[in-house]
């Protein structure tokens, strides 16, 4: 019982999510079908994977605005090297992940070595990545190979986006909880000076979180392209906001030092459920945005109200 309590207490907007699901299940019978829940999972996958990567950065007290653009660029390069340069499929996947890592590393180095605030460093890299995506694609979608499309398909009836999300989530949790590198992220985000005085390499940690974020973005890019069988120049446009929102809804603080993969996951699912639910309820496109805003505010408030009670 106590375990359940701490679990709920530590995991962000879980109560808000549960309440929302109950309301939707009552309001729209189509919501609680197995097929639709799988859809929600698939639709949450991209945001969740981007958000897992973003979790590293936010825990370290940074912010990564470039994740959407990096997802677009890395998947575009996978498509381009496959279609126009004849790279073998496996190699295009390597290219994709490498591009993510390199872009992350550049953001990280700008942040650590050039002392650019991460907001500015990643805003700059976002612009660079978007521009390069357009340059490479000439503004047109490029069809992707089977290797990429695999990430949008199913395997034994299970959608690969969901599997990928689970794998990346577990990976993120392992890194954050079990490795020294992960613990250093909490330390640097929680008190940079203390971390430095304890001999933790702050710069290395800063670069590392952005590299991880870039790699996770590249994987998210594969899922997006795999689902569309093509790399789109405007893919994942604005997704960074969803990713950051998922992390923050999940209980992390932009001030750093706090955050958990499970919370981020709840945040990403919450966002996907809201959008799926409003679609199913056929809320008009104009009102939809109003309702999305209200539901996000309400769902996260539920969590804060509950915590407020706890402290008294």
């Amino acid at each position: 019982m106590d375990k359940v309590k701490t679990f709920v207490a530590r995991n962000g907007a879980l109560i808000g999510l549960v309440l929302l699901c109950i309301i939707l299940a009552i309001g729209a019978p189509a919501f609680l079908t197995g097929a639709n829940l799988l859809n929600v999972g698939i639709q949450a996958a991209t945001t969740a994977i981007l958000a897992f990567g973003e979790t590293f950065v936010i825990i370290e007290a940074g912010i990564d605005l470039s994740v959407g653009a990096v997802a677009a660029l890395s998947s575009m390069l996978a498509a381009y090297t496959g279609a126009s340069m004849g790279f073998p499929p496996a190699l295009t996947l390597v290219v994709c992940v490498a591009v993510g890592a390199v872009f992350g590393a550049i953001s990280g180095m700008l942040n650590a070595w050039m002392r650019l605030p991460s907001f500015i460093a990643t805003l700059a890299m976002m612009s660079v990545a978007r521009g390069l995506t357009l340059v490479i694609s000439d503004g047109r979608p490029i069809a992707t190979s089977a290797a990429v499309n695999f990430f949008g398909g199913t395997i034994g009836g299970m959608p690969v986006p969901i599997l990928t999300m689970v794998v990346m989530g577990v990976l993120a949790a392992v890194i954050l909880n079990l490795t020294t590198a992960g613990r250093a992220m909490y330390a640097v985000g929680g008190n940079m000076e203390a971390a430095r005085l304890s001999g933790i390499s702050v710069h290395r940690t800063q670069i590392r979180v952005f590299v991880l974020s870039g790699i996770f973005a590249a994987v998210a890019g594969l899922v997006i392209a795999g689902r569309l069988h093509s790399a789109q120049p405007q893919a994942a446009d604005g997704y960074e906001m969803d990713a950051i929102a998922a992390v923050v809804i999940g209980g992390a603080s932009l001030a750093g030092g706090k955050g958990r993969v499970w919370g981020t996951f709840v945040g990403a699912i919450l966002l996907a459920v809201i959008r799926n639910g409003l679609n199913i309820l056929n809320v008009s496109s104009f009102w939809q945005q109003v309702v999305i805003g209200l539901v996000i505010a309400a769902a996260v408030s539920v969590d804060t109200l509950r915590r407020k009670e706890d402290t008294h």
């Binding site: 189509a30 859809n39 503004g139 047109r140 069988h229 093509s230 405007q234 679609n279 199913i280």
Partner: protein, 287 residues
């Protein structure tokens, strides 16, 4: 043939395009570029990234850039008016392309008719589903002129077909990935749907993807634009049809008009580029 001698070696023409994040406008730009190369003028492209204010900034900057003529593809027809007015004092020829500039006498306007396109799409989709059943509309970016016109043309026509019911209309922002999710979701709550009207090909292709993922077979998708991917989908039988605009031709004609105006020749006030209904029968002609 570059036989025509232009007034000076490299006159500069600025093309203010609403966005290049979309193959349609990339084609438009390519058509313009080809024509510019042919005519020996220097084409400078400014991408407003779908923001009217940015477009106005770029219009102002065109003068500093030394433009001899400006081609504008407005982000929004109304908002383009003051932008174009800032060019008036310098007496530059202004050509609008694809979307008009409200209330301003531009040198020439070159466009296809989106309301007519919507109507044609409705007629063709109705035919394809046998005048019977539920349909979905995937709307473009809320508030965009093309969204309004294509929606209006389509709905006015569908209203005449009593057997057809619009079960749901939701935006997917002209975006393929969004259309994939939105269609998947809508098929959950509207399993009886037999047809989908997508206000551009990108969204149509997203819908095709969603249906291919097992949501339902026998659902007819109709697009708009006639992009390369869109035409391919029609040829492959994934989309039943699309409304072909001719973006390259739009771009070509715009540059042609700009060069004429620079030389002081007479330019037609409006040039209408036809939109054509493309189906499996005639798709070869467009590819």
């Amino acid at each position: 043939g570059g036989g025509t001698q232009s007034s000076s070696s490299a006159d500069k023409v600025v093309l203010l395009v609403s966005t290049l994040n979309n193959p349609f406008f990339v084609d438009l730009r390519d058509g313009a570029q080809e024509e510019a190369t042919k005519q020996g003028v220097d084409l400078v492209v400014s991408d407003a990234q779908n923001d009217s204010a940015t477009q106005q900034n770029q219009a102002q900057n065109a003068v500093s850039q030394g433009a001899k003529a400006v081609i504008i593809n407005p982000v929004d027809s109304d908002a383009a008016a003051p932008a174009v007015q800032t060019l008036m004092p310098s007496n530059l020829p202004v050509i609008s392309v694809d979307r008009a500039v409200t209330g301003v006498d531009v040198t020439s306007h070159i466009a296809s008719d989106n309301v007519a396109g919507g109507k044609q799409a409705a007629e063709e989709l109705a035919k394809a589903i046998g005048d019977q059943g539920d349909i979905l509309i995937l709307e473009g970016t809320p508030g965009a002129a093309s969204t309004r016109d294509r929606g209006q043309g389509f709905k006015d026509e569908i209203a005449k077909h009593s057997g057809i019911r619009i079960a749901a209309e939701q935006t997917a922002n002209f975006d393929r990935a969004e259309a994939l999710d939105v269609t998947t979701n809508l098929m959950q709550s509207n399993p009886n749907v037999v047809g989908i009207y997508a206000e551009n090909d990108e969204m149509g292709l997203g819908a095709v993807q969603a249906l291919g993922n097992g949501a339902g077979n026998g659902v007819t998708v109709f697009g708009f634009d006639g992009t390369a991917d869109g035409l391919k989908a029609v040829a492959d039988g994934q989309m039943v049809g699309t409304i072909a605009q001719q973006p390259r031709l739009l771009g070509q004609k715009a540059v042609e008009a700009a060069v004429k105006a620079i030389k002081g020749e007479v330019v037609e006030q409006t040039q209408s580029i036809e939109v054509e209904t493309v189906t499996a029968d005639n798709v070869k002609e467009f590819q």
